[in-house]
């Protein structure tokens, strides 16, 4: 099964009902599957902090939210994470393409990659790093963990995991 199918199945198994996305080349396949799925509402957002607002609203409306984004978005979401998602205790799995890791062809992507884990750590956000394809087997449990704990949780998926960029 492709990693995109593993991610989709994990979301469906966890009854994710609302997903917002901002694309990354690595995320194209999974975004296409989300768009086609009847199991969840998909709302593309223009910026990731906007997406976190949408997710907070959807959660209060009774749907389990998730955001799919690139790690370069961590900077623009710090305030939304601290003052909305964490302050009001809203569960939010963040499925993040981890650009700028080994195998990255675009040098500029490395500049946010070197800050990604430090920022997530500073925010005390539980963070999981997928490097091998099998790492995704843990995704259903990670999603469940986010909803149980009512916290944002980050899943960083690097170039090796996607088998290319």
């Amino acid at each position: 099964m492709s990693v995109n199918d593993v991610i989709m199945d994990a979301m469906i198994e966890n009854k994710v009902g609302f997903v917002t996305t901002v694309p990354c080349k690595q995320l194209a396949g999974v975004i296409e599957k989300i768009e086609q799925s009847d199991a969840m509402i998909h709302v593309p957002s223009n910026r990731e902090d906007e997406g976190m607002g949408l997710c907070a609203g959807a959660f209060m409306g009774g749907r389990r939210p998730a955001i799919i984004m690139q790690n370069t978005a961590i900077g623009v979401t710090i305030n939304a994470l601290a003052t909305l998602i964490q302050y009001y205790r809203i569960p939010l799995p963040m499925l993040i393409s981890y650009r700028g890791e080994i195998g990255e062809p675009v040098a500029c992507q490395v500049e946010m990659a070197v800050h990604t884990k430090a920022l997530l750590d500073r925010m005390a956000i539980p963070t999981y790093h997928f490097h091998e394809e099998e790492d995704a087997d843990e995704l259903p449990a990670i999603l469940n963990h986010a909803y149980m704990a009512r916290k944002p949780v980050a899943v960083l998926m690097d170039a090796a995991f996607w088998k290319g960029y």
Binding site: G53, L54, G57, A58, R63
Partner: protein, 184 residues
Amino acid sequence: MIRSDVLKTLIPLISDELVVTNIGLPSQEMHLLDDQPTNFYMLGTMGLASSIGLGLAMAQPKKVIAIDGDGSVLMNLGTLPTIANNQVPNFILLIIDNGSYGSTGDQTTYAGMRTSLADVARACGCDHVVECAAEDTAAAVKDALAAEQTTVIVSKCESGNIKVPVIELDPVMIKERFMASVAG
């Protein structure tokens, strides 16, 4: 009329509706004038009131009114195309356009200068955009509540603030009682 005058005229209409209120004085004034479990007060996160409101409206069928500010919509201008392209029958965005960053001391915003947020909303593809004078806001909200369509209302009012206490409610309490109202 200033923002708090406009809010007063709305209370009979929106007291029992799901309302998301913007950071700063809009939330504090609503809390002072008519605290309800159906109010979701934003205590921070400038810009995201409309996004929270839209996510909530898309997730469930009850009507949702997001009361936003001109400065906050300018900060999250990307929200207008998202609203325009995801029109649902139960969402109202009410922008209290006092032409200023009222909560921080009435500094003029670009909406108080050359930029028309109603025109921006229309250009983004919002089909039902109403710009009205402050005193006509209640009528516009009443019409929007009766209609089954996404409506963006831009209420042009004067800049100015009343003295209000900060909200001391715990954020998790605000969320929990709001969610109970949504589900109830």
